[in-house]
Amino acid sequence: MSESNAQISRTELVAAITVATTEVFSTMLGIEITPGETQTEPRAAAPPESGVVSLIGLAGPWVGTGGIACTGALACRISAAFLTTTVEAVNDDVLDAVGEITNMIIGNVKTAIEEKVGPMGLSTPTVIFGRNFQTRSARIHEWTVVAFTCEDERLYVQLCVAPNQEPVHGTIRAGFQVPQVLNI
């Protein structure tokens, strides 16, 4: 089976997300996080009223987007644990911390799925703070969403990937930047 024809089951994606997220939270933040239900959604999860969404593009024999979504309050707690400081409101430091945590989680998920589909490139993260928005992937319509419980709050880790229909020429440059689709 060629790399582009390789299949990744939803169970494998959920397992990769769960392992990566729990490891990043325990090692970098010292926070216990518990995986809960998993869903397949037509669009990425976003907190219903306001919150932070962080997205990273994946490219190669498979393409897509991964990311996390949580409330502003949980983003502040993540940032406080990351930087060992006190954070009272979402600011640049919080967005930087959420972006880096996303980079570590999706980067480690990518490493896990590369074993089946071959080398992929990872973009730099895009982090958004706001309210009443939805995120979509322009070409792929099914997101695997794993909901985690973290200090009585919900954190959603999500991924949509599919085989690349375009031929891949050479290697994908690490740290490439991709546009995201945002509906307000």
């Binding site: 940032s79 880096e100 999706i106 740290g175």
Partner: protein
């Protein structure tokens, strides 16, 4: 005491790396910071360092491109570069080693891992 350069687009990671290195009781001199490969090369025109820690996924110039530039430079090619990245695949590690990386630390990391990987440079 060794002067070092930390290259990462996340200010948080640059701060954490400094903290973790100090926790590991590694004797540090001056710590310089850069947000990407371009900034790092600009800084190295005026500063001398004994060790560079660099992320891979960065805008403008990524860590592997920075590594290639450093290894092609007459004086900077001797400065050891340790990659600190979420890129943990065997292929990426091999690529970094072939380009001349002196070490590789996978994110997430803890103080013990940093101490173990950097001990040889101090």
């Amino acid at each position: 005491m060794l002067d070092i350069l930390i290259v990462d687009d996340s200010a948080g990671i640059r701060k954490i790396l400094q903290r973790v290195i100090r926790q590991a009781e590694i004797p540090l001199g001056a710590v310089h910071e850069a947000g990407d490969g371009c900034e790092a090369l600009e800084l190295l025109k005026t500063q001398t360092v004994g060790l560079i820690l660099s992320d891979i996924n960065m805008p403008n110039m990524n860590g592997l491109e920075l590594l290639s530039h450093l290894k092609a430079h007459d004086t900077l090619k001797h400065v050891p570069v340790v990659m600190v990245s979420t890129e943990g695949s065997q292929q990426k590690v091999l690529e970094a080693v072939q380009l001349g990386a002196a070490g590789y630390v996978r994110k997430p990391f803890n103080a013990e891992q940093i101490k173990e990987k950097l001990a040889a440079f101090f």
